[in-house]
């Protein structure tokens, strides 16, 4: 459950806009990749020093600055200084506990997204926060970790045959969002397979730990839902919003991202319904098992308890029990008991108890 809420109490009492990194601490260096392009040219470089970003600030063509790692607060602070970003915005970038949201600061638009990935070691879905700052001719993207998810986009810009060269940084921002949302489907497929496995197991053999697995899945769904749900609103606002930073030609693309987001949410809801159905199956299977156990006990006990009474009867030591002297009494009693047992079995058979 540490995933549910991150440690934010350190912040209580600090002035608003105080820059503190909330999230996993990392040792790796922050990596900064810059892409500068327009229809005519393309330039790509990886800088180690945040000051080098500055030179691209006032260039007329499009600049995309991608920052992998937000654990070095001073890097973020400098970027904020150079590009004139609001302190609250910087605070939000550093606080990896944000919900997806969009905020229009006038000169730039701030977008927070959650990238989901599946951690095979811990066997659960995790989220990485991606923040985008979209200006008139620059886009700055902040990621918590490295990873090659944006490489394909960089490649496409480089190849030049792509729309983005013509369409401005708002289209680039869309492309990043599109990549992230497309990735959700991969996660959903993974979850889908795991759910099927669980269901298979539930049907063949409802183990006691199944309830735990179901609950774990439920939380997984809650986690994904929480990460994806607000995104719907984000894209909606961007689409309707009349910021001059987003060109009308990009709207149709945003609508596409919106559609995909809705689809992911639909799938999450479907899985939630499926999981609650599994719970019903599980609970009823516990009761069914109890029924089965009780039937075994009842069949055995009901057959033998009367018989035991009969044999006890003739084990009494009364002096005057005339039947004890009768020669055929013993076989007669045996036959009689067999009849009782068989008729009881027939009764249970009729009741479909076994």
């Amino acid at each position: 459950m540490p995933r549910t809420i991150k440690k934010r109490s350190d912040k209580a009492g600090l002035p608003p806009g105080a820059l503190i990194h909330i999230g996993e601490q990392r040792a790796e260096n922050v990596r900064i990749k810059i892409v500068n392009y327009d229809e005519a040219q393309f330039q790509e470089l990886e800088v180690s020093n945040v000051e080098e970003c500055l030179q691209f600030k006032d260039k007329p063509n499009n600049t995309w600055i991608n920052i992998d790692g937000i654990h070095q607060v001073d890097t973020i602070e400098k970027i904020g200084l150079y590009f004139n970003l609001h302190p609250l915005l910087l605070e939000d970038i550093l606080n990896t506990d944000q919900r997806p949201k969009v905020e229009d600061y006038g000169d730039y638009i701030f977008i927070v997204l959650k990238m989901l990935f599946y951690d095979d070691q811990e066997n659960k879905t995790k989220a990485e926060q991606v923040s985008l700052v979209l200006g008139a001719n620059f886009l700055i993207s902040f990621k918590e970790m490295g990873g090659d998810i944006f490489d394909s986009i960089r490649e496409r810009i480089k190849n030049g045959q792509w729309r983005a060269r013509k369409m401005g940084v708002d289209y680039l921002a869309y492309s990043l969002m599109d990549v992230i949302v497309d990735h959700y489907f991969t996660i959903m497929e993974k979850i889908g397979e795991k759910t099927e496995d669980l269901e298979e197991k539930l049907v063949t053999d409802a183990q006691r730990e199944a309830i735990r697995s179901i609950q774990d899945f439920k939380r997984e769904m809650m986690f994904i839902r929480k990460s994806v749900w607000p995104l719907r609103e984000v894209v909606n606002i961007m689409e309707r919003g009349c910021s001059p930073l987003i060109h009308e030609s990009t709207y149709i693309y945003l609508r596409d991202v919106y559609d995909h987001t809705i689809q992911v949410i639909d799938t999450v809801e479907t899985y939630r319904d499926i999981l609650s159905g599994m719970l019903d199956i599980y609970l009823s299977s516990i009761n069914n098992k109890l029924n089965e156990v009780m039937k075994v006990l009842t069949v055995i006990a009901t057959i033998f308890i009367p018989l035991t009474f009969i044999v006890g009867l003739y084990g009494m030591n009364f002096e005057y029990m005339p039947e004890l002297k009768v020669r055929w009494a013993y076989p007669a009693i045996l036959i009689c008991m067999a009849v009782i047992a068989i008729s009881m079995l027939a009764y249970f058979k009729k009741k479909k108890w076994f």
Copy 2:
């Protein structure tokens, strides 16, 4: 569950608008049927070559191009090229995982629908995606599979006595939607019959697998709901939408489709409620069965355990047990036990245990 989410992960990383067919692969050829008509004349032909569609493009009278099969990407691509369709639109046609939706592209309106049909082999409802592109004087419809569902409409146009000859392609688009929505009622009737069967079985004999059937039905409902629910919004948007492509005289017809859609959704909700009621019946019947089993055990055990104690008592080997010598002791004991047994039976009878 493969139905719940289709394999989309192949697309992750591709540029937006990349044309990849997501859905079942088919071997059959794509079939293209063209109908060209106005009030005065009617022409119908089936072409094998997508280029032949082009000649109808600039004709002043109405053209309906129906394409059965979307698995040949290049066909779709060419259509897109000839009719100047947006790449994202083409992507949506190929991706059979869309929710029903409507998008106004200015020169044309794009509508995605789900046609439901019942697969008797697999014994479950399936959906086929139908995409419509409605232009000023043309309508292009894309279906995943062949099938004769639109034949009746073609026939009606041919016979000429029908409104569609006068009313333009928007009325034609409505007619297609109407046919699809009318078909939902057939599905609902099928489901209704199956639900009644299940309920019948549940009441007469609550088998263990009933819970599975209930869950399967629930998913069926979820699936249908997911396919039909957004359609409500689609028709709503079209009705309110002020696109010049849809004439005011068609609005009243769209309202009719809307009404039918609401009715289908109502029925789905009703079935969901009924199914959850069935679950309650099922769960309580498990418990009732346990009760019954336990009553049998309790009646038998409660009667015979005390009797067994009594016969055990007189089976003891103490030397000084005066009653053993008494002549009438044995019959007295027998009578005494009979009295105990009968009074216990009376007690259970009174408690309505059997």
Copy 3:
């Protein structure tokens, strides 16, 4: 469940506006009653021929045509022809599977309502569809069956002292709606009594079939809700709607119908809550019964099993069991067993097991 969805599949494939009667087939003749009135005069006649309606069409005073029976399609068709009604409207009149709705066709307003009545034979609530077509100075009402529900209104108009003589056909339409909605309360009272009976039975003796009764009631509620709920919207639209056919002075009356509708819906919701409470009572009573059964078994078994062991002990045939020879051993053992039995009973008494 045949009530849940009517057979509509016959319609699939037919052109929109095709007139087919969906509903119960009847043999009785269609009956047409015409009332023509204004402040000064009143005329009432029952015609057998639909053509006779035509003479009233262009009269300046108010005309109310009531048609009992919609199973003769040609009658409806003729009415449609004479009064210039839209084909889709006629289709909706014939299709008794409509939800309550209101549609403004400009020259006339179309209203669909559900009249509920309680079928004592089948012991369940049924609905009859009532359609109203409200024109400038005429009102046509269509009912599935005969019945005297509108007679009181006709009487009131005849008596002349009533508002309707002054207020136009919109007030008449309101009066019909009012009668129908007032009738809902009668149904609710009936259901209320039945619910009380069921609850009484549930408390005194939770029979196995109670779960079925609860489910039946639930469906009854679902059915009524489905019939009444959309009516709320209908009256709302009429009240707000700025159709010139409805005079402002009638608005306050429509608001009254609206209030009554809300009250019925409130009551339905209350019953749903009560029914779900009953389900809880029922389920817990099953478990309580099991508890009771098990307590009886446990008390009996726990007392006699140890005693049976003891008597078995002294039934062993060892040669050297010195206590068997002791004179007072037998009574001592008897006393000892009585003590065990009594102390166990005391223990169970303390635990409040009986």
Copy 4:
């Protein structure tokens, strides 16, 4: 449950606006209290005759007419006549089955409220309907019963040092609403205490009738919710409504009533959640009890059944059972059985079964 729906079926078939009293019949006389006041003077009288109200109608200063008892239809009818009230309004006053609502009739505003009181005899919450008619300089209040709830307000006006003398009848109307809403808190405290008692009992000793008490509480909550919930809307409408009858200076007071109403609704919701939690506790306690019963049975049976087998073994009458002749066999067997019993007890102890 008679409370859930009142007998309204008498009304079905009557013309709208027909005055029929729906509610409890009373024998007491209707009492009419009139207060006439402005900043300068104050006059209070109790009249027996409704005609006497008339003299105050056209006086320029404020008049408050309070009517205790609505079971005499002619009184209400006369008031309606004198003050020119709409027939539907009068119908609503007489029908005590109204939901709280507000209606603006232009010359006057009509407000329906529910006053809750706790009936200690029947041990449940009941509601009394209070209707207010707010005109330009008069306020007429109708109550079902007598009672002193409004006396404090009359007193305050009399004492003269109170705002109401200056602020007009809209402030007076607010004061009445405020008194009624304040009274809800008293009811909620009563319910709160009873809920605590029930919970206490549930924890110490979950009796079988607890489920009934929980359900009774749930209905109490449903009843209060139904009475209070629409009030929220009422005050909201009055606050926003631009009727000239309500002065702007009164708005802030209405907002206060609104806040209190929300608080009551919040508390009701809280109790509903608490009650559903109690149900969970109750159900799990039933199961826990069953567990306990079964553990006792199992411990006793599991210990003694094997021992009984052993003693039965040596009770067999075979001629050649050499151990029966051995001198130390009997004590050895006794020790052996003691070991079995003790080790079983240890096993159950380890499993924490007792």
Copy 5:
């Protein structure tokens, strides 16, 4: 549950605006701290006498008056008099049972907040009401108790390097709200830890009292939800509201508070879901335990009851039972019984009963 509803019945019957303190009574003195500042200067003093506040009223620079303790009604009354506050506002300050809300009185804005803190003694979350009155150049804050939560803000103003010196009292009001909301995260972490502990215990050993703990947690959540949820609306209104008292530059900060509030609410919802999952685990674990108990009983009983019958059989005293005389009969019977016992064990093993 005393927390659920405070004693308000004392107020019923009093005129609106009557000042009565509803909440815990305290003995400590009310403490008043005044901070007066602008960009150039800073002054801080603690006064014992409420009259001393008056001197700051008309100063042009910013004044923050913080009042710790609201149990002395006359202090609040005087403040109200000096600063011209509405009686209803004062009533709300004294009534600690308010929901968070904002009210615009024109000259000042009134804000009610709930500060949450965790009471380690009683082991539950509690709320303290904080009321803010925001005027043109003054802010008055009322707290129920002392406590140092606002000290950090006072410190920051003093240090002077902080925005608040420039930005006016609306920014100060925001700062107080921010501190309170930041504190919620600390509470959520505490709750998070406790939930994890509970879950741990639930999995390892589902005690009977677990259900109580779960219910207690649920109420904790309900309580926090009730305290935080309306805050969302409050900040929303302030942000959109066009009061001249809040400068546009503060809007972005309010949006930040809004975001944090949403995050807290999200977490509360998550915990509610987790708790309902725990309930499922608990309930199924009760049933699982019962299953286990029954299996032990069934295994033991099923093995020994038939054997006991057999030994009883040969304990009968019939004269003619030839097998009793056979030499190898006894060992044969022993072997036979061992075979029965072993095969039964094998059967249960196969069924995975132990």
